[in-house]
Amino acid sequence: MVQLDHVSKIHTSGVAALTDVSLRVDRGEFVFIVGPTGSGKSTLLKLLYRAELPTHGRVLVYGRDVGRLRAGAVAGLRRTLGVVFQDFKLLPQRTALENVAFALRVIGTPSTEIRPRALQALERVGLMQRANAMPAELSGGEQQRVSIARALVNNPPLLLADEPTGNLDPDSSWEIIQLLSRITVRRTTVIVTTHNKTIVDMLRRRVVRLADGRVTRDEPRGLYAVTV
């Protein structure tokens, strides 16, 4: 599903964000990428949705070398994966439903399909009742669910979440993580970056730890920190 072979990313500023990272994530897996700020978590995800190009090594998504995609092929890749961010990235002037529908509309989905599919996605995140609410009227957790609905509306096989609980209180964070981990039931692969120790330790899923751009640990049912 996702594979990194000896990947390094050196920014134009000279900062080495990732150094010799090799990683493999299979279909339906749920993976936490953990590590302190600046350890390269966001950069790793950006390589997967082709917002950054690797300096060395290969990044394969669905078996395709995304580092070699033509600029015109990037849109095609993005339609097959969902991305969720700490700041939700919702359009403040549009309702929850319109925000989800927006993702369908801008890729040319037939107009008759848009509303039912957007509603279905909101149902999947348990937000049907709030479909006509504006983002400002929703709690942080609800806004994040709208952004997850938007990421899932095309039924992507891969969902990437960069610190999805970074702006949320502990209860909302837990709800969001529960929601993300349930998505894997449908064989969707989910990769979540976080530095929320409590959540990682409660969920006991695969944990990949980054430190200074290197993978220092990769455990199938891991904890945030090494237990001594």
């Binding site: 849109a75 993005r78 359009l91 002037q93 801008v106 040319g108 006509n132």
Partner: protein, 309 residues
């Protein structure tokens, strides 16, 4: 504590929509006031640039017209060697006509040449003598296909056996050719320089629209909208600005040109000036094409920085 009406979902929804609508109106009018002024400024700048482009087009069309007119009037006169037998004249005429670049050839006998001279100088006692001993040679008047080739054609005719001397209005033709060329180059340089300025102004205006919609652009990119899908609204906005400027510049130019051409023609009747109707189509087309190109280029540059792929 909650009142009962607040709790009703229907009332809440209507309230929210009205609120959202009001906010939308507020923001739209604010953005129009802010961008409207910038848009007016950009359209004005592009109009000024297009006015100059249009003047260059009008000037260049008139120069070509002048060249064509003079072209039709430019003649080479080839004088036949003294003592050539009348029977050889046909052979010489055929040889001249065979030279490349030669249009029409006309024989002017020495008698006809003298008559013309008399006509142009008027009656004078000295002519009595001239008529007795006509000093003028037989000659051919040759029209050239392209004025720019006059010198070459004249040189070729010089080599025809039986031709003594060749004459043509060398200076006028050469200067006209040089002037047209210089004018075209200057017009091109000016157009390029003004186009760059116009593109920069349009870019800065459109950037405001782009910035106002950067979050939408960001999301569109993330969810896989194509670059063209993202570009087209801005492209339309830019092209509309260009067309607006083209319409303004074109109508101003045509109106001013019509008046100026009529005045100038009245003052200088011999000058071949094109009427406004004669330049309207190419002028409008040139200005519209430049306006569209400037608007499209401006929108491309404005959006480019916000496209990450």
């Amino acid at each position: 504590m909650r009142s009962r009406s607040e709790g009703s979902p229907v009332v809440r929804r209507v309230g929210v929509q009205r609120e959202a609508f009001a906010q939308f109106l507020r923001e739209a009018s604010m953005s129009f006031r802010r961008n409207g002024l910038m848009t007016a400024a950009a359209v004005t700048t592009v109009t000024v640039a297009l006015l100059t482009v249009g003047m260059a087009v009008a000037g260049s069309l008139n120069l070509s017209h002048l060249a064509t007119t003079l072209n039709a009037q430019v003649e080479i006169v080839a004088f036949v060697r003294d003592g050539t037998r009348p029977s050889d004249l046909t052979r010489i005429e055929t040889a001249i006509a065979a030279e490349p670049g030669v249009g029409a050839v006309r024989f002017v006998g020495r008698g006809e040449a003298l008559a013309r001279l008399q006509r142009s100088l008027g009656e004078s006692p000295a002519f009595a003598d001239l008529t007795k001993h006509n000093p003028l040679p037989d000659s051919f008047e040759i029209r050239v296909g392209d004025a720019a080739q006059t010198a070459d054609v004249a040189a070729a005719i010089q080599t025809v056996p039986g031709i003594h001397e060749v004459a043509y209005g060398a200076e006028v033709v050469d200067r006209l050719v040089a002037l047209t060329r210089a004018m075209r180059i200057m017009a091109l340089l000016l157009t390029v320089a003004l186009a760059v300025v116009a593109v920069i102004v349009v870019t800065n205006t459109l950037r405001l629209t782009v910035i106002a919609r950067w979050r939408e652009i960001e999301i569109m990119e993330l969810v896989g909208a194509t670059r063209w899908f993202i570009r087209w609204p801005f492209l339309i906005e830019g092209v509309l600005q260009g067309l607006l400027a083209a319409a303004a510049a074109g109508s101003v130019l045509l109106a001013v040109y019509a008046v100026a051409a009529a005045r100038l023609q009245g003052a200088l009747p011999f000058l071949p000036i094109l009427p406004a109707a004669g330049i309207a189509l190419p002028l409008m087309a040139a200005v519209a094409v430049c306006g569209i190109a400037v608007g499209a280029a401006g929108s491309f540059v404005a959006v480019r920085r916000f496209l990450t792929t």
